[in-house]
């Protein structure tokens, strides 16, 4: 009969099946309206671009803002440099000279070590009530802003709007995997929007009401994921965050595993900071306490517990096989018998297979919706690798993040 470990496996399978099913059940009735956005009327927008050592990408980022399909006189761009060590400031200065009055450069008096402080400086300096925040390594599509602004105009309660963040590079295998990941995350986030559960307005491109940001105290400079924290704070004050799936921004992704690992550690520490900071809202404040905080907390718990259990079983098996092999070599007996390779499938195997197929279908639906099917980088091998290997690294990231968080040793 079931033992404890098997029971845990069943619970994991159930949760995974439930979460994917939840997204599918949200998708079905909304599938024709995923790309809907209220017709926005152009209104003045200040675009804030925090920058630190972005000499390689900042020109492309500013150019993309200059190419936005939006009345030129209604846009001001404020680049806030956080004491870059490279020639980012010189590059921006050239743009300021070329576009006087349209582009402003502010140089922070110190390096703050994060994006929140320069963003806050930019928001305070912004002329307009609608402020967009963008990263200096990201490039929104020309129609991104106009597809987002309608959400703010449609409902006064909406204080933040995010868009689909897509991975721009595909030179390395890591980047190809992130292309899949970013597409699925964007699609899933839109589905969460359908239940008022957008939990982040990612840095690459997001739109806010300045008055509300000032009212809630601007971005938290102590949080490593200020773009998650601000949404939780807005929600805790009764505001809404929405997502415009049709609006896209392309963002640079880490090319190598080490950079990727560091980025994800930062994201996870930021997420943990948010859970701790907003724990009092659990099961309160609508979807923030009813879904977002429990979802984050439960994911963290499942990830940590699952990794612990996996390592325990893995090492138990390794020790067992090591001992048996050592005895067998010593005793001169058969090292491996056919009987030891149990080929009889179990109920757990069938459940696992069903979940794998179900997840595979889910991901392919997501990729199709995001228009990623047919791209060279999106092949079956990459998708399977993403599902079976890439995602399985996350529990290790969680453990490392939690360890760093508990030791208090973390920085941007």
């Amino acid at each position: 009969m079931f033992n404890f470990v098997e029971l845990v496996f069943y619970i994991y399978l159930f949760v995974a099946l439930y979460m994917t099913s939840l997204l599918v059940f949200i998708w079905i009735p909304n599938r024709k309206r995923l790309f809907y956005h209220p017709n926005g009327k152009p209104m003045p927008v200040s675009i804030i671009m925090p920058c630190y050592n972005e000499a390689e990408t900042i020109s492309k980022a500013i150019d993309s803002l200059l190419k936005l399909n939006y009345p030129s006189h209604m846009i001001e761009i404020i680049v806030v440099d956080d004491k870059s060590k490279d020639n980012s400031v010189e590059i921006v200065k050239r743009y300021v000279e070329k576009y006087p009055g349209k582009i402003t450069l502010i140089v922070n008096s110190r390096n703050s070590g994060g994006a929140a402080e320069p963003t806050n400086i930019g928001i305070k300096a912004a002329k307009y009530d609608f402020v967009a925040v963008t990263d200096a390594d990201s490039a929104p599509e020309p129609d991104a802003l106009i597809k987002m602004i309608g959400f703010l105009q449609e409902d006064k309660n909406v204080a933040a709007v995010t868009c689909a963040v897509m991975a721009s590079g595909s030179r390395t295998f890591m980047q190809k995997l992130q292309m899949i990941e970013y597409s699925i995350i964007s699609w899933s986030r839109k589905l969460l929007d359908c239940i008022d559960a957008v939990y982040v307005t990612p840095g690459p491109f997001a739109l806010y009401r300045k008055s509300v940001l000032l009212d809630v105290g601007l971005f938290d400079t102590k949080n490593l994921t200020q773009d998650i924290e601000i949404v939780w704070r807005l929600k805790s004050k009764g505001y809404m965050a929405r997502m415009s799936l049709g609006a896209r921004v392309y963002s640079e992704t880490p090319m190598k595993f080490k950079q990727w690992w560091r980025q994800r550690i930062r994201w996870n520490i930021g997420g943990t900071q948010c859970i701790v900071k907003y724990r009092k809202y659990i099961f309160k404040n609508g979807m923030l306490g009813g879904f977002i905080i429990p979802f984050f907390s439960f994911s963290l718990f499942l990830g940590l517990f699952g990794l612990g259990l996996f390592l325990y079983l893995f090492f138990k098996r390794i020790i067992f096989n090591f001992l048996v092999t050592r005895y067998s070599i010593y005793g001169g007996t058969t090292i491996l018998r056919l009987q030891d390779l149990s080929l009889n499938p179990t109920v757990l195997n069938f459940f696992g297979l069903v979940l794998l197929i179900w997840s595979f279908i889910f991901i392919f639906i997501g990729l199709s919706i995001m228009g990623m099917r047919g791209k060279r980088e999106i092949n079956t091998f990459n998708v399977l690798f993403y599902m079976l290997v890439y995602l399985s690294i996350y529990p290790s990231i969680m453990v490392t993040s939690l360890y760093k968080y508990l030791r208090g040793k973390y920085s941007w």
């Binding site: 009969m1 079931f2 098997e6 399978l13 159930f14 099946l17 439930y18 099913s21 939840l22 599918v24 059940f25 949200i26 009735p29 909304n30 309206r33 809907y36 929007d193 359908c194 239940i195 008022d196 138990k316 020790i319 067992f320 001992l323 048996v324 005895y327 067998s328 010593y330 005793g331 001169g332 007996t333 058969t334 018998r337 009987q339 149990s342 009889n344 499938p345 179990t346 109920v347 757990l348 069938f350 459940f351 069903v354």
Partner: protein, 222 residues
Amino acid sequence: MRMSKHAFWQALVFTIIIFSLGMILGFFLELRQSDRVYANLVNSELNILDEQLRQRIISDSNVSCDLAKESMFNFADKIYEDAVDLEESDETGRITDLGALHKRYDLLRTLLLFEAEKLKQRCMEDFHIITYLYLYNIEDIVLNSKQSYFSRQLFDLKSEYPEDIILIPIAINTDVASVDLLVKSRNLNSYPVIVIDGKNFVTEFSTLDELTNLVFGNTSAP
């Protein structure tokens, strides 16, 4: 945008249905898988009766030692194969409880042990009875790996000398009264243990050669 909060319970109902179907399907698949074992469960009744009758026939009638030995070896080999099947099903079975079947086979193997000992006494046959007493379903890795090694060693030995060895593995912790009595009567308290012809006990690691020498004495193996 339509707020899809109904999706929470819809997904829950869907997941429960899929899970229930999965459990039912799994149950039937396991039943199919363990059909062989269940056939053995039915057969085990017959086997026990068969074994008791064979013992009676051998002791009461004038059955030749050769015939008795052949009959017992065939029966023991069959029981051994059933045990291997059972072990495999036990590893993969998640829904069906095979505990009762284990007990029946342990009972049967205990009966077989007594028959083998009687036959060896009566006919002075030169076959060897190897009883392997082990613990069923244990968590201790070191003990488990030791049992696994003993099991492999005995499997190799039996494969090498199929006509000279009768191998009877018995789990001592399946709560079968006769097995408990057997264990107590032989003053055994360290497991796993390989009992060779009721007099030599192997509880520590030995090589296959050492075990072969212990079974066949100092004489070279046949």
